[in-house]
Symmetry: C2
Subunit: 189 residues, 2 copies
């Protein structure tokens, strides 16, 4: 059931870093993205894959982690992602990417969840630094980075009342709490 | 397998209009959206549902269908969607919606596909007219419309060579052909 997969597919930020992800797995996940919808069928998205420690470390340094957790600079060594998929917009194919990257990032993460993996969509990226570090040509706009690994943290969903604080938070047992709006508050007609 | 669902989840534009979709089904699909990721966990998306002929007709008139099929103004009566989910951005919650609507539209369509339904993400919308016709308050930005129904058309995927024509097309048997880039052409590193 897709519902089970959607519920299991929580944003994950701490991983069993020692569990490697094969390049072939990343290719399978991008193939799911490839087979998904693209506005006007332009398919302007391109992908850079990483599952090697050195390249992973370069990407990790360019990511901003969990804006709502002010005292947490991101996962320490040992709990970092085992892999990344960088989603790029090819400006030689399109000038606007609509929300194609949302479509494909979600598809990639659902595919990862099915494989017992999990991850996070990062928009907080030091884009210039990442482009420079990986030698990404200027024709490619960095849209998102998807981090991937074997999840190490427990995530629980809670109710977000209208006007309440939408920020996620961690308790003293390192359980990650995510307030979610109720269905009645998001269906308005 | 999510891969089977992703492959089955093709953009559909012709439907068995006589097959109704229950309001409860739409609510279940929006619940999948609700349980999906949102940037910064802001959850600024709101939804309007429609599965009644009169409201459906209003929404249908505000949609631009299949830009690449120049001689086709959209599905005729009898092949139109049985339902719609309008995805709105609530500007009182956020000013930017990132690609949240891509995440949720894809999730909604995967859920619909699992139920034997299908549909289309519409960005080509006469937004002012739709807002006026449904009385949508100005605080809500219309991001996407997802049309839904029981699919009536056959869709086949083909290979899009680099530099080739990405436009989808229909053959004389009304089979819909969609060129897709190869994996080797979208993974660049």
């Amino acid at each position: 059931m897709i519902r089970d997969l959607v519920i299991e597919n929580r944003t994950r930020r701490r991983f069993h870093q020692e569990v490697a992800i094969e390049l072939e797995t990343l290719r399978e996940l991008v193939d799911l993205a490839r087979l998904s919808a693209s506005f006007g069928n332009r398919q302007p998205l391109k992908y850079i894959l990483s599952c090697e420690p050195q390249k992973n470390a370069v990407i990790f340094r360019c990511l901003i982690w969990a804006g709502a957790l002010k005292d947490w600079p991101g996962p320490p060594e040992g709990e970092r992602p085992s892999a990344y998929i960088i989603i790029l917009g090819d400006t030689e194919i399109a000038k606007s990417f609509f929300c194609d990257h949302g479509i494909t990032a979600q598809t990639i993460l659902l595919g990862a969840t099915e494989r017992g993996l999990g991850g996070c969509m990062h928009d907080g990226i030091q884009r210039d630094e990442l482009s420079r570090a990986l030698g990404i040509p200027p024709r490619y706009e960095i849209l998102l980075v998807v981090s991937l690994g074997k999840p190490k943290e427990k995530v629980v969903l809670e109710t977000l009342e209208p006007g309440g604080d939408f920020n996620y938070w961690r308790d003293s047992d390192n359980v990650h709490h995510v307030p979610k709006r109720l269905l009645a508050d998001i269906i308005i007609g």
